[in-house]
């Protein structure tokens, strides 16, 4: 390879030689030089002449020195490296040569054809200054690299025979000097001096031109170029100095050190031998600063630090006595002090270190090498780099790639352990902090546990999602790497025992209130947990509709319990694991008969008992046990979902900071609706109504919308933005509500629990709003409202402001429970409705004993048919239609408004009939209401009425809404009566 290359080069140079040997025409001289043109011509002439000399010198050096050097055979490894450097050098040498010759020829041609049209732009060293700068810097970089690896010394030795024979010829290439240099020095000088001098020539030509140029523009052009060549001269000088210093260093160090540290491009920048400093750590006695490494030396031992990960702290707090001046050197795993006795030594090291680090981070040297000597150019503290941890710690052998600051991972980064464990995410001061995704390989199974979580000081804290290798997923809160607080864990449906747990955790164990779905058996446990076991009060609901309430001890049913079967029979007593009565107990059948006695249940056999059957239980007792409600005292509503509320309130008390939001409130997930919307934005304008979920916008908005009406609009919209804190709270609440009361949990015996929960959520959400508004007001620099809200009006707000907004989230499950609870009554009512539907309007009015004068028909002389149509048209149709609207909303307030409106419609119709304003007393109103209710045919009216009553603002109690609701309820009851359902009309 090397050989073929060198032969190609020699062919090229041979033919070049031929060209150059052609006699050059003498330059014509003109006398009429004037103005710029004249100046240009002078400059061009001197340029052409100096280039001519230069080119022939290059050719000679090539022939006598460079080509023979390239022809040497290099067998050993080191020799091959040398040849590589030499080839590069030769390549750059020809680049200089080619560029120069090319431009020289172009200029010369132009000069000989149109001498008078020459302008500044033809002086290529101005126009193409960057090109020239490039080839020269590259040449000198290669040259100094060759110097550093002691290439010339080796070449001198290797080819001593050749040099001896051609000594005279080589010497001719040198400027005359007194001393007698060694062959190595001669070669060194020959290969750089001519080239370096040519820059000098250019600078001279430009200096003269600059003096004579008149126009500002031209002057600038020339002086720019001149500056550049002056800088280039500096650069060359500095490079050569650095190289020789480095070369000397390698010469002075042991071969082991040299072989591990010496690379062509590396240059010594500072040495504690010249500027003494002592090292605080270990036994090291010498510091070497290179352009990429900081080396601590002791004999043949050394420790090296990549400058990308070296920080210099000029003012260490400790050990800073007047006698020593120290710099703290900070690296990822080590810190030490460099101390000097002289303050200016410290200053030199500090300056050098910072400059070198900065240049290392920039990835290139300054031009000239120490050009930017001004102050204030310290390296950036924040850097991106890769590092492998070595010391004994959690990070041992892990590779970190990412942002660093002051020696520590800080910012975004990736940490990979050799075993496959890795972390991608935020770091702070050396530890995982912020949001991060962590993969932990599972030794037994072929998979990973994947944590997407919030971290603080190296541990999982706050909200996170973990996808375990067995496909179980946990979504919830963590503390110190363990599941803690509220969380949902769900196994895939395909797993052996599919389950879902929604509830509280304590240090990785189920603890406190929680809901467990056993998907195989179709059972749901609602109740208390301890150490991953059912423990304490608990309710079990079954797919069949049966449910059990009792006490659990370490996962086992214990003590007295109550079982309500799907046919509403109630068993009270001691139960076995299989939920069979065992021992003393009482059985209340749905037909109110009771059976008390000793029960024996054996596997595979029917329940056996000896006891007393009582068929005369009091009706009152029956009423009480008819729809017993579970879980009310066992699970106080304010303690049920504390784990959801706590982080939300902690978020507020911690000051609502954006960066902590996700860890407290859960991770922002774009809903599919929002995704769709954001795609739409590509095509149309952004909706200004859009609500922002960013916490500062939220606080701003809450501050703006303090009046309750606009606030309600705002909250309504906020619920549609998945990032809004309200939406997140509501999402969690409705999730647990569904987990408890949807599906198997749709059991009439849970109605009161559910209803209580919805009201409590409204109240808590109101409290959340109050607290967050306080923060918003405070941030505005105002004192929070001092208005003394009594608890009463607070409660009121939770009913009027919050409940209507949040109810839709709970309504489907809640209403289902109401329907189940009132199933029987609603069935009877419907029978009545169906029956009354058989009546014609007039018959019905008659049947209900509505006074004739209130009938919406005047002329009794009309035929029956005519009367019918008239009645149908006018007979409280508006009131009926009004009442039907009750199912169009879930908001109890609106429903009550509809009831009131229905009454108005009735009275309007009556007033029209009476042809005067008429107010109905109850004696007249009730029959008419029954009429309207029966015609409105609202399904599940019982469920509707009771939902309204339970969720109605308590301040309405006894008031007009309460009255109307009671009136409708009495109609509902009335329609259920046997006399209505079974009336045989004549």
């Amino acid at each position: 390879m090397a050989n073929s290359n060198s032969s190609a080069l020699s062919r090229r140079s041979a033919c070049r030689h031929k060209r150059n040997s052609n006699p050059v025409k003498p330059l014509r001289r003109t006398m009429d030089v004037s103005g710029l043109k004249g100046v240009c011509q002078v400059a061009v002439r001197s340029l052409l002449s100096t280039e001519e000399t230069f080119l022939s010198a290059l050719a000679r050096i090539n022939d006598i020195v460079l080509q023979p050097l390239l022809r040497t055979d290099q067998d050993d490894q080191k020799g091959k490296e040398h040849m590589k450097s030499l080839l590069l050098l030769s390549d750059r040498y020809h680049a200089v040569w080619d560029r120069t010759e090319e431009n020289y020829k172009t200029l010369k041609r132009k000069y000989s054809t149109s001498e008078y049209s020459l302008t500044l732009h033809d002086i290529y060293i101005i126009l193409k200054k960057d090109l020239f700068l490039d080839v020269y810097t590259q040449y000198f970089t290669c040259f100094t690299n060759y110097v550093v690896i002691q290439g010339f010394d080796r070449a001198a030795k290797q080819m001593s025979g050749y040099w001896k024979t051609n000594k005279k010829m080589v010497k001719q290439l040198l400027a005359p000097s007194v001393s007698e240099p060694t062959t190595a020095i001669t070669l060194h000088t020959v290969l750089h001096e001519t080239i370096r001098n040519q820059i000098q020539q250019y600078a001279l030509i430009l200096t003269r031109l600059n003096e004579n140029a008149e126009e500002i523009d031209e002057k600038n052009l020339v002086s720019d170029a001149l500056n550049l060549y002056v800088k280039l001269q500096n650069f060359i000088g500095q490079s050569l100095d650095e190289a020789s210093l480095t070369k000397i260093l390698w010469g002075s160090l042991g071969s082991k050190l040299v072989s591990s540290l010496c690379v062509p491009e590396r240059r010594l920048q500072e040495d504690s031998k010249y500027v003494p400093v002592s090292i605080s750590t270990g036994k090291f006695e010498r510091v070497l600063l290179f352009d990429d490494l900081l080396i601590l030396l002791q004999g043949t031992d050394f420790r090296s630090f990549d400058l990308k990960l070296v920080w210099v702290d000029p003012a260490p707090t400790e050990n800073s006595t007047a006698a020593s001046h120290s710099l703290r050197i900070i690296t990822p795993e080590e810190e030490f002090l460099l101390s000097s006795k002289e303050p200016h030594h410290k200053a030199i090291w500090q300056w050098k270190l910072n400059q070198v680090i900065r240049q290392r981070l920039d990835g290139k040297r300054d031009f000239p090498l120490w050009g930017k000597s001004e102050e204030g150019l310290d390296p950036c503290a924040s850097r991106f780099s890769t590092y492998t941890f070595r010391s004994e710690c959690r990070f041992k052998n892990a590779v970190y790639e990412g942002d660093f600051s002051w020696g520590k991972p800080h910012g975004k980064g990736t940490l990979k352990w050799p075993d496959g464990h890795n972390y991608v995410g935020d770091f702070k001061e050396g530890l995982e902090d912020g949001f991060g995704i962590c993969l932990i390989p599972h030794s037994s199974e072929d998979g990973y546990d994947c944590y997407k979580c919030h971290w603080r000081e190296g541990k999982m804290q706050g909200y996170g999602i973990c996808e375990y290798s067995n496909e179980t997923v946990y979504k919830g809160y963590f503390k110190d790497n363990l599941r803690h607080g509220f969380g949902i864990q769900e196994s895939p449906i395909s797993s052996k025992h599919p389950f879902k747990y929604t509830g509280h955790w304590d240090r990785d164990k189920k603890m406190g209130y929680g809901i467990w779905d056993d998907i195989e058996s179709g059972q749901r446990y609602i109740g208390m947990w301890q150490n991953d076991q059912r423990h304490g009060a608990g309710v079990v609901v079954m797919q069949s509709g049966a449910c059990y309430q009792g006490t659990f001890l370490m996962d086992k049913i214990t003590g007295m319990g109550i079982l309500i079967s799907e046919d509403e029979s109630v068993f009270e007593g001691k139960f076995t694991e299989q939920l069979k009565l065992d021992g003393k107990g009482k059985l209340t059948f749905s037909d109110r008969f009771t059976l008390e006695g000793n029960f024996i249940s054996k596997a595979g056999k029917d329940l056996q008992t000896r006891g007393v059957l009582n068929a005369n239980s009091k009706e009152q007792d029956y009423d009480v046990t008819r729809k017993p409600q579970l879980g009310l005292t066992e699970f106080p509503v304010e303690k049920r979902w504390q784990g959801i509320y706590d982080p939300f309130f902690e978020f507020i008390s911690s000051g609502c900071r954006e960066e902590t939001e996700e860890s407290f409130l859960g991770i922002h997930v774009q809903s599919s609706k929002e995704l769709r919307k954001s795609q739409e934005y590509l095509f149309c304008q952004r909706d200004s109504e859009e609500i922002s979920g960013k916490i500062e916008d939220v606080l701003e908005a809450l501050y703006e919308y303090q009046d309750l009406k606009s606030l309600q609009c705002y909250l309504q919209k906020a619920l549609n933005s998945s990032q809004h804190p309200f939406a997140k709270l509501l999402k969690s609440l409705s999730t647990v509500f569904q987990a408890t009361y949807a599906g198997i949990g749709a059991n009439r015996h849970l109605l009161h629990m559910a209803q209580e929960e919805v009201k409590y959520h409204a109240w808590k959400t109101w409290e959340f709003y109050r607290n967050i508004t306080h923060v918003a007001t405070k941030q505005k620099g105002q004192l929070p409202d001092t208005e003394e809200d009594t608890e009463g009006s607070e409660k009121e707000n939770s009913y009027t402001l919050i409940l209507p907004v949040i109810l839709p989230r709970f309504h489907p499950e809640l209403f289902m429970l109401y329907m189940l609870y009132h199933e029987k009554e609603d069935a009877l009512y419907w029978q009545g409705i169906v029956h009354l539907g058989l009546f014609s309007d007039t018959k019905l009015l008659e049947f209900l004993e509505v006074q004739k004068n209130l009938w919406p028909l005047k002329d009794l002389r009309l035929t029956t048919n005519q009367r019918h149509s008239l009645v149908r048209e006018r007979c409280f149709l508006s009131a009926t239609e009004c009442l039907q609207k009750i199912i169009t909303t879930v908001d109890p307030r609106e429903k009550l408004g509809i009831l009131l409106k229905t009454h108005e419609e009735i009275e309007t119709t009556v007033s029209r009939v009476m042809e005067k304003e008429y107010k109905l007393p109850m004696d007249d109103l009730l029959p008419l209401l029954v009429y309207v209710v029966s015609r409105a045919r609202i399904q599940r009216l019982g469920a509707e009425i009771h939902l309204i009553r339970d969720l109605m603002d308590p301040k309405n109690e006894g008031g007009i809404y309460d009255f109307m609701l009671t009136a409708i309820e009495s109609c509902y009851e009335h329609i259920q009566k046997e006399e209505i359902r079974l009336y045989h009309f004549p």
């Binding site: 009454h903 304003e917 109905l920 004696d923 308590p954 009851e973 009335h974």
Partner: protein, 201 residues
């Protein structure tokens, strides 16, 4: 018609109850609320629901008065109306012995199924027609005493004793425990107490 007025002491109501239509329960309420005999001009829900605030000592009592249907067929619905009431007014017609009998049935029903401590008041209406009286004052008094109820003979037509009837109820309704009921908001308004009254018949 059976008439019940149910009075609420803030959180409780009053209810009037009279058995037969025509005894004048609605008229009494109208007279009370508007000091007007013709009940066809009345606020809120026609003649079935009315409110009035009356001073009683240092307090203001707000009556929320619920009317009840007096027809026999609706009797069984009455408990819905008087649940949570503070007082009930039962009206009979002094000119109809029958109405007094029905009244007794109502009282019995209230004692059995009504709220504990409900204040009962018996109003013998149409005392302007004492010429054709069938129920004597004495009978009414004795009966009222036996059930410890307030008894007044009234005339809605001539505005006799109507005000007194409700004043009497007001006095008997136990004073508000302001701590317990502090959450209604009414108490905030210059320390006035309100009283709800519900009526049924």
């Amino acid at each position: 018609m059976g008439n019940n007025l149910i009075g609420r002491h803030t959180e409780q109501h009053t209810q009037p109850s009279i058995q037969d239509t025509g005894v004048g329960k609605s008229s009494i309420v109208c007279r009370f609320v508007q000091d007007h005999f013709d009940h066809n001009i009345s606020p809120t829900i026609g003649a079935s629901f009315m409110t009035k605030t009356v001073p009683c000592g240092n307090e203001l009592h707000k009556f929320l008065i619920w009317d009840t249907a007096g027809q026999e067929r609706f009797h069984s619905l009455a408990p819905m109306y008087y649940r949570g009431s503070a007082a009930a007014v039962i009206v009979y017609d002094i000119t109809k012995q029958d109405s007094f009998h029905t009244l007794k049935k109502w009282v019995k029903e209230l004692k059995e199924h009504g709220p504990e401590n409900i204040v009962m008041a018996i109003a013998g209406n149409k005392c302007d027609l004492s010429d054709i009286r069938e129920v004597t004052v004495k009978d009414a008094r004795e009966y009222a005493e036996s059930i410890s109820a307030i008894v007044v003979e009234t005339s809605a037509k001539n505005a006799i004793n109507v005000e007194e009837l409700f004043q009497g109820i007001s006095r008997q309704i136990p004073p508000l425990n302001s701590h317990e009921n502090g959450n209604t908001g009414t108490i905030k308004l210059a320390k006035q107490t309100s009283q709800t009254s519900r009526r049924c018949c």
